[in-house]
């Protein structure tokens, strides 16, 4: 491997010996990072490698215990984001930091020193923002309220925030998680435009494919340390995977994830055996199911069916009714019309608890918001949803001993890393929280399993774990519906993919016919050409 120490004459940004601890956790252990001028610098690593922490230190959100930051050859002290902004550092966070009730313009100008007498001139700023967005190919309506925007557009708002402040270094933390392939391409285009105007970009991801597509230089982190910096031209995906994961045995086990989407350069999925589950009985039948969104507007209107043992994918750009669809199918959101039956039993209209009893299991997209009781222990979290069932109850009381035994065996079976079964869920990492949610879903022995973005934000081993479990569930006859915005994931796992747009199914593809660009076309709402 080639140590690419100094890409330019004098690097734009240099971080040296950064150390950061959170209580007992050493998140960064003497990390160095050098970002040259006019480059897209990839920051690659698994979950908890410390990528976000490092950038938060740079942005002044975290204060490092040790270490020096040099910008333009000048040592700088960054105590808070205000300092970072004044030094020309901009950051797009993994969870967008936006005030939902504000307009795009308000979100962008927030924190600047706009004159206010006799009142703020937001119109003038809106024009400036419109101009910026055309210049970098990030078009968005400056007067729209942020809460109404799709994820992709909110992403642009975040980038515009940094550009508006005249950033020299732009940090993007996993910006592609929610984007369609087209949107990813357009983002990469914008990144190129940004670099061409003299800025540098730090691009955080765990997707090797993306780093290969856009980065000039790559730094790989693992376990709070930098394990290598390489030029893109001088490396291969396998080498990067090796650096990321650290041990070869593991690399081999997770090749599926590492190579996702890369085997066929045009984006065709690996042509494994063609669709096979065609004759199994239909376990789930959904017809004319209509669900409204939180504002009472119809958001999902679908008919579909899933056979036992089949994994059906729902592809679509976030915000096209997936949340409503998932919740309606899980019995969480009341349906306005239509029916949904599992093994012939109609569930529409009954309370959520009946759906759970009926064998529906749901792995929600937002695991922190919808999936766990953060302050409660693993035991309690695993009981959630089954508290009224016979399993954990004796008379009117919960049998905590049995619940505890169940938790302990789940911890083993799902390799949940936790100090003990009574650890509060909030203390666990994202991957482990997802494992709890999966353990809970599978313990119901579901007839119908709904997974919504189950691997979002998970690293390679955890992602592989989810894939394995999902396949195992299908193999045991469960009907699986996988709603995902990650086309690699869908093409990898699914027997069939349905594309939703504006709450309706606009297309269907079977395994063997997958073409990511074509799917992306459908996802963008363009009529089916065929």
């Amino acid at each position: 491997m080639t140590e690419n120490s100094s890409p330019g004459p004098r690097p734009l940004l240099h971080m040296d010996g950064i150390r950061k601890t959170f209580g007992p956790v050493v998140a960064l252990d003497g990390v160095d990072l050098t970002v040259g001028r006019n480059e897209v610098h990839g920051l690659l690593g698994g979950n908890g490698a410390g990528k976000t922490t490092l950038m938060n230190v740079l942005y002044g959100l975290y204060r490092a215990d040790e270490g020096i930051v040099t910008l333009d050859g000048q040592e700088v002290v960054i105590r808070d984001p205000r300092d970072a902004i004044s030094h020309g550092i901009g950051m797009v966070h993994q969870n967008f930091l936006q005030v939902d009730t504000y307009s795009v313009t308000e979100n962008i100008v927030l924190g600047t020193e706009l004159p206010s007498w006799p009142s703020m001139d937001l119109k003038g700023q809106a024009e400036r923002i419109a101009e910026l967005s055309t210049r970098f190919g990030l078009s968005v309506d400056p007067l729209a309220t942020v809460a109404d925007l799709s994820v992709g557009l909110r992403q642009r708002v975040e980038i515009l925030k940094a550009l508006y402040r005249g950033a020299k270094v732009l940090v993007l933390d996993e910006p592609t998680t929610n984007l369609t392939p087209q949107e990813v391409d357009s983002l990469f285009g914008s990144l190129r435009a940004i670099v061409d105007e003299g800025m540098s970009v730090v691009f955080i991801t765990h997707k090797i494919r993306e780093t290969m597509a856009v980065c000039d230089t790559l730094t790989v982190m693992r376990d709070g340390r930098r394990v290598g910096t390489v030029a893109r031209r001088g490396t291969t995906p396998t080498e990067l995977a090796g650096l990321m994961v650290g041990d070869d045995a593991m690399v081999r086990r997770v090749t599926e994830v590492v190579t996702a989407g890369m085997a066929a350069p045009v984006g065709r999925g690996p042509t494994v055996d063609a669709y096979a589950a065609g004759d199994a009985p239909e376990r789930v039948v959904v017809s004319g199911l209509l669900a409204h969104n939180d504002h009472g507007v119809p958001a999902a209107d679908v008919s579909l069916s899933v056979r036992g043992g089949e994994i059906v994918g729902i592809a679509g750009v976030a915000g096209n009714g997936q949340v409503e669809l998932a919740e309606a199918l899980a019995g969480v959101r009341p349906t306005a019309a239509g029916s949904m039956s599992l093994d012939g039993r109609d569930l529409a209209g009954s309370p959520t608890a009946t759906w759970l009893d009926g064998g529906v299991a749901y792995v929600p997209e937002d695991r922190h918001r919808d999936g766990i009781l953060p302050s409660e222990s693993i035991v309690e979290n695993l009981v959630l949803g089954a508290q009224r069932g016979r399993r954990f109850r004796s008379g009117p009381f919960l049998d905590w001993r049995r619940a505890r035994q169940h938790a302990e065996s789940s911890i083993r079976a799902f390799s949940i890393k936790a100090p003990s079964a009574s650890t509060p869920a909030a203390q666990l990492s994202g991957g482990n929280i997802q494992r709890i949610i999966l353990a809970r879903a599978f313990s119901h022995e579901p007839g119908f399993l709904i997974l919504h973005n189950p691997t979002r934000g998970l690293d390679i081993p955890s992602t592989q774990f989810v894939y394995d479990r999902t396949r195992a569930a299908a193999a045991s006859g469960t009907a699986v519906l996988l709603i995902s915005e990650d086309l690699d994931e869908l093409t990898n796992l699914c027997d069939r993919i349905l594309v939703v747009y504006s709450g309706r199914i606009v297309g269907e593809r079977r395994r063997g016919e997958y073409d990511q660009y074509e799917l992306g076309h459908l996802m963008a709402g363009l009529e089916e050409s065929a």
């Binding site: 918001r369 919808d370 009781l373 309690e380 009381f397 650890t423």
Partner: protein, 361 residues
């Protein structure tokens, strides 16, 4: 390499009884330190006002413990405090703020008094249960109004419970000065309820059996909160309402239910005040139980098991406050300040505790 790196597996915290005992001891210690600090600071203020803080504190402590009478009075005061603290704590577990304990207590007391007066001639085994049940139901219904406004109209429960308290003042004033008023009382007061409606007294000096009732209720609340299915659902809603809903818990119902149960407990407090202490409805009988109940609930950090103990401490303080004024000449307002200081120091003891634990690692 052997340096610790993220994510570090903290050594499995062994869930031994000793470990848990340690944690408990630390918590109790925090309380003790906070109370001591509060008394030290208040003592300085008392001294600055020209009084003797030691006399003042002796008065507080001795009132409750030097005589059986003081103890009984303290225990009698404890009953409404513990019930109102639970009336606040239970909805709090579901993330709802019941600021209406005062109104619920008063309406409960009104209903109890009404039953006790209208059916004064019934024998005790009929009338007493009736008096208590009426109080409980009325408190529950009054809380339900706020819960219904919250559930059906999205009206914030803090707003509605605060306003309903003011409504209850009018109700009590009306009943006590127009409906069954006792003209000889010199204050809005109803005529006494029937003999059969009074809680039996036991011991010497006499203690009413409402104390036993309160103990049982507090114990039941602890068991229900920790072990029962509704208790689990309540905690789940409080911990994360969305997740609870996704997993089949009817969040709205749980929230409404928690407020109604809170109201029922406050109503019971009112009933016991009528049937055990006053034998009638008196304007102003709610005292400052609401605020003290909230304070107790907050000091106990919503832990139902801690509530009775904290409530006892506050009862001692409240009963002792007049003694402090009496024998040391300290203005009774000092008690308010002492209570404020206890709260402040308790919270600060957390911060200090966390710092110490961090630095000792």
């Amino acid at each position: 390499m052997t340096t610790t790196t993220a994510p570090v597996q903290t050594p499995p915290r062994t869930e031994t009884r000793a470990g848990r005992g340690n944690a408990l001891a630390r918590q109790v210690l925090a309380y003790v330190v906070a109370v001591l600090m509060a008394f030290v600071v208040a003592g300085i203020i008392i001294a600055a006002l020209g009084h003797n803080p030691f006399d003042a504190y002796r008065a507080i402590v001795t009132t409750s413990f030097k005589s059986g009478f003081g103890l009984v009075e303290t225990v009698h005061k404890w009953v409404p405090l513990v019930l109102l603290a639970l009336a606040f704590t239970i909805p709090l577990a579901a993330g709802k703020y019941n600021i209406g304990g005062e109104g619920q207590l008063l309406v409960g007391a009104t209903a109890s008094a009404a039953a006790g007066i209208l059916l004064a001639d019934l024998p005790i085994y009929v009338l007493l249960p009736l008096v208590l049940v009426c109080g409980v139901l009325a408190g529950a219904v009054f809380a339900w109004v706020a819960a219904w406004l919250m559930d059906r109209f999205g009206i914030n429960e803090i707003l509605s419970t605060v306003l309903l308290n003011f409504v209850s003042f009018g109700i009590v004033d009306y009943v006590a000065s127009e409906v069954w008023s006792d003209p000889a009382a010199g204050h809005p007061t109803t005529i006494p309820i029937g003999e059969g409606g009074l809680l039996p007294l036991v011991g010497r000096p006499p203690m009413h059996l409402g104390v036993l009732l309160a103990v049982l209720v507090a114990a039941a609340v602890v068991v229900v909160m920790r072990r029962s299915v509704p208790g689990f659902e309540l905690r789940a809603v409080g911990a994360n309402a969305r997740a609870a809903q996704v997993h089949g818990i009817r969040v709205g119902r749980v929230a409404v239910g928690s407020l109604v149960v809170g109201g029922a407990l406050a109503g019971l407090a009112g009933a016991i005040e009528v049937a055990g202490v006053h034998g009638k409805l008196i304007e102003g009988m709610q005292s400052n139980y609401l605020l003290l109940g909230i304070i107790i609930g907050l000091i106990a950090r919503g832990n139902a098991l801690a509530v009775p103990f904290v409530a006892f401490g506050i009862a001692v303080l409240e009963v002792g406050s007049s003694a402090m004024q009496r024998s040391a000449g300290v203005p009774s307002e000092m008690v308010l300040i002492v209570e404020a200081l206890i709260l402040l120091f308790l919270l600060f003891s957390d911060v200090v505790g966390a710092r110490l634990r961090r630095s000792s690692r």
